[in-house]
Amino acid sequence: MRIGVALRELHRSESAMAVELLRVADRHPEEPEIRHVARDLAEWSREHVREIEGIAPRYGTDLSGPEHPEPSEEGERELPGEDSDADLALLADLKRLYRLGGGVALDWDLLGQGAQIIADSDLLAVTERCHPRSVRRMHWARGMLKAVSPQILVG
């Protein structure tokens, strides 16, 4: 069964998401809403990781991996100039979070489909708890981006 593969991938992507959210929170200490909400959302990711760890043994999945996984897209620049300009870095970070978040949400979608076909109600319950939050997280990144970008682009 390939469910294990999906679980492993989610374990990696949610862990990476937590790391990325905390990094973004630290990178913008003067933007309270970014800092605080990103931390709250990182806590969701950690909970999701625990959920995955709880259910993975049923599928004989080995979740060992790097301690602090790096998001796969990390290092890719989102916007030219983001290294030197805090505002551009903020936009870039939000874009990155949105894209990463989209990836994680898709992974949860996939896992949910898997859970349906094998009719594992516990696994389905896990995806029902985590998938909506992964979507909310993504919407947050987009909402923030829409709210702060106009001023940054003209300022």
Binding site: H36, V37, D87, R136, R137, K146, A147, P150, Q151, V154
Partner: protein, 817 residues
């Protein structure tokens, strides 16, 4: 008439009444010493502007001066009663330190000038920035104390003529969460209930609402019910031993920041014990399944641990609510300024929807206002909404507004929600807002983390215009100071939190060259030469009456419909509740009596926001979830506060308003009786914590957070252990620190954190982690905190707070006993 000491007896004598009866009148009167009622030349109708209750009163005028006030016995809001702030606050109008001429900064100092010079500078800077950067360089931060006509004008100028998204009111600090919670549950802003529900309720629940201090007259109404036959039972949620708590059947004092866990457990119990009106839920709401699922995780035992409460008390609270036949709930700053503000306030709405407690006498919810005219900033769109409860995210609403104003819709910014106050400050700090016009508010004392705010407002790159009545802590930092007329010196309308509109008429002339806020805004518009699509001057109105007529047109058809009101009707009748239109010529006491809401996707004011992340929802999402426009039950998980006590800072600080003062004491601090009743800042500490810290009543202590320090004398009282309270009104205008090098250690907001509810953007004043240190022995004097209120001392020796019996009360004897 019997006389009363309004300082010692803030709620006055009782006129008991029973359920379903009319609240008996009691007319309160206070005149300056030596003036009798027969000496008064004129009585001019108005209402109180020093809190949000909207107490109707007449201003007594003699020889062109205000000499006192008298409650309006026939008015639906107060039936003649007046609170201490109403009775004494008007004296600030006469204060010799009123601003009477415009000031401009020259060589670093503010110097007097004339209006042409001052306005010339404002206009020149506005034009230059519009050319250089465009509308995004300009921001406006207004009050909760202007009149409807003035907010409408400001909103028209900012959103319509200039096209900036940066306009908010300090109602962001008081009532933003009320508005957001109402929109989240019902699709539109607007109070479902009425103050009249107190006359009918059998259970009244007060959530984070110390009504006894914030709305003294409304509390008198509750006390009168409590003193009458078949009194209601009260539930109080508050970490302090407020007068409300003292009268409650159940008092819960949760750990600050845990309201959502508590509310989830209460709903858990309502659902578990079958206290749900399933027919109402089925016919009128969406979201029940999700609510059951989420609250299922919050049995009272779990909440008990999070909130630091006995599970049994939570069950009692739920049983009280579950057994109510006519449930009235009120909510204020204990929820609005705390962690998960909107999420918690929405859960109160949920309780009413679950129990079908809406739209009939006694079954109401009052999401309260802090400021007297907060409701008008919301309606007019001066607070981060759009005029007439329009939805910024709905193009049809934008076109409709543009048509009403005869402007091109593209001129009205709607690419994102209007910028909220804290974000305006952040843009000013970062330098992309370069012009900030502050009217009738005092952010240098009222916003969180004052050091940061002072630095922002003092930035050289920021052109700061301050329009106010006195030289406030904020005005001191301005480039241009505009002297404004105030209440009693100008005409306009304002609306309290139960939608009651009052007319307030000009009674006397403003001092010196002070001008009304309406005149100032319109003068600016004319000097800027703003024009509508036909080239006519914009705004098209020119005085209070024409502004009110413009408002009637722009509000017609929206929930806050004023089209049936006129100044004459308000003058004759007193307060009238909106909507007031052809269909409801006498106004509307309760909304949603038919279980129909203003929530259809085409009409709703907002598509809502995620209750944890604050992300705005899009139309498609809203439509999918609520195609028919039912009320929305919204479930949410508990998220811990962002700053909690730790080893270094072991206490949680909560701050708040107290009985004798209002908004940074700018006015109330200038009324001698109010000032004497609470002359200095204080720190409330529980007996257990005081013992451990070696602190006695009156000892000087220091409270320190990661951001600043406050020094004051300790009041040992009944607050929840682990929690400290500091009243937030005290600033520096009346201290030595008013000079530049003076120490800033008195305002509670030196300590608070820059953090806000992601949903309503209301700053959180009730989460800072602090430590407490005794700085020396007291001199035997107790702390100057009032003994009449939540700050009552445990030490029985402390002398009671007193004034003088100088106010007259005339009960109409209409009690039911």
């Amino acid at each position: 008439m019997p006389s009363r000491d309004p300082i010692a007896e803030p709620w006055g004598s009782r006129t008991p009444y029973g359920p379903g009866r009319r609240w008996p009148a009691r007319v309160d009167l206070h005149l300056a010493e030596g003036v009798g009622p027969e000496d008064v030349d004129r009585w001019v109708p108005s209402a109180s502007i020093l809190h949000s209750n909207g107490d109707a009163l007449d201003i007594a005028v003699k020889d062109g001066r205000i000499v006192g006030v008298r409650g309006r016995g026939e008015d639906r809001v107060n039936r003649g009663r007046l609170g201490p702030k109403d009775l004494y606050g008007w004296q600030a109008n006469h204060s010799p330190d009123r601003l009477t001429r415009p000031l401009v900064r020259r060589g670093g100092k503010l110097v007097e000038t004339d209006w042409d010079t001052a306005m010339g500078l404002v206009v020149e800077r506005s034009r230059r920035l519009l050319d250089e950067q465009g509308a995004s360089a300009l921001g406006f931060y207004t009050s909760g104390q202007l009149f409807l006509e003035e907010y409408l004008t400001l909103a028209a100028i900012a959103h319509g003529a200039i096209g900036t998204n940066h306009l908010d009111g300090n109602t962001r600090l008081c009532t933003a969460t009320a508005a957001t919670a109402l929109k989240a549950s019902f699709g539109c802003d607007g109070q479902p209930g009425s103050y009249g529900d107190i006359d009918h309720a059998d259970v009244i629940a007060l959530y984070g609402h110390n009504m006894a201090e914030t709305q003294t007259v409304l509390w008198s109404r509750v006390l009168d019910r409590l003193a009458g036959p078949n009194p209601p039972r009260l539930l109080c949620v508050d970490p302090r031993p407020t007068p409300v708590a003292a009268h409650s059947a159940v008092h819960l004092a949760p750990r600050p920041g845990t309201n959502v866990a508590l509310m989830n457990a209460i709903q858990h119990e309502l659902i578990r014990t079958g206290r749900v009106d399933h027919a109402y839920v089925r016919d009128h709401t969406v979201g029940y399944g999700e609510l059951v699922r989420v609250t299922d995780d919050y049995p009272p035992e779990r909440a008990a641990e999070i909130c630091g409460l006995p599970a049994e008390r939570i069950r009692e609270a739920a049983a009280l609510l579950g057994g109510a036949e006519r449930l009235l709930s009120t909510v204020l700053q204990g929820f609005y300024q705390s962690n998960q503000a909107t999420a918690a306030a929405v859960q109160v709405n949920n309780v009413h929807l679950l129990r079908g407690m809406l739209g009939r006498p006694g079954a109401g919810v009052l999401q309260m206002n802090g400021q007297p005219t907060a409701q008008n900033t919301r309606e007019c769109g001066a607070d981060g909404d759009l005029t007439g409860f329009r939805n910024w995210n709905n193009d049809a609403h934008i076109s409709d507004l543009a048509a009403a104003w005869n402007l091109d819709p593209m001129r009205i910014p709607h690419y994102a929600p209007p910028t909220h106050a804290m974000q305006i400050m952040r843009y000013a700090e970062k330098g992309s807002i370069r012009f900030l016009w502050i009217s009738a508010t005092n952010p240098a004392v009222s916003l969180p983390e004052l050091r940061r705010i002072r630095e922002t407002l003092a930035r050289r790159e920021l052109f700061l215009v301050v329009q106010d009545v006195f030289m406030t802590e904020t005005a001191e930092l301005a480039d241009v100071v505009l002297p404004a007329a105030t209440w009693g010196e100008k005409t306009g309308t304002f609306t309290n939190s139960d939608r009651t509109v009052h007319l307030s008429e000009k009674a006397v002339e403003p001092p010196g060259e002070a001008r009304t806020d309406l005149d100032i805004f319109l003068d600016y518009a004319r000097r800027m030469n703003f024009r509508d699509a036909d080239g006519r001057p914009f705004p098209q109105w020119h005085d209070p009456v024409s502004a009110f007529e413009a408002w009637k047109r722009v509000s017609a058809g929206r929930p806050c419909d004023y089209s049936g009101l006129t100044y004459d009707r308000l003058r004759d009748t007193g307060g009238i509740q909106w909507p007031c239109d052809a269909e409801h010529p006498d106004g509307t006491e309760r909304l949603y009596t038919d279980g129909r809401f203003w929530a259809r996707p085409e009409e709703c004011e907002s598509y809502g926001r995620d209750l944890v992340t604050g992300a705005p929802k899009e139309e498609a999402e809203y439509r999918a979830a609520n195609p028919e426009g039912l009320a929305m039950l919204k479930a949410v998980e508990y998220v811990p506060p962002h700053e909690g006590p730790d080893g270094e800072y072991p206490f949680t600080l909560i701050t708040g308003r107290t009985l004798y003062h209002f908004h940074t004491r700018t006015k109330t601090g200038r009324a001698p009786e109010l000032r004497r009743a609470a002359p200095e800042v204080w720190v409330e500490v529980s007996a257990a914590d005081a013992l451990e810290a070696g602190v006695h009543e009156g000892d000087p202590v220091e409270v320190r957070s990661r951001r600043g320090v406050v020094r004051a004398r300790a009041r040992v009282g009944g607050i929840r252990p682990g929690v400290l309270f500091v009243p937030f009104h005290y600033g520096y205008w009346d201290t030595d620190a008013a000079d530049p090098d003076g120490e800033r250690d008195r305002a509670a907001n030196e300590l608070s954190a820059t953090d806000w509810d992601p949903v309503s953007k209301q700053p959180l004043f009730k989460t800072a982690a602090v430590r407490l240190r005794r700085v020396g022995a007291g001199d035997g004097r107790p702390s100057p905190a009032p003994t009449t209120t939540a700050s009552a001392p445990l030490d029985a020796e402390v002398a009671a707070t007193r004034g003088r019996p100088d106010t007259l009360e005339e009960p109409d004897g209409g009690g039911t006993r």
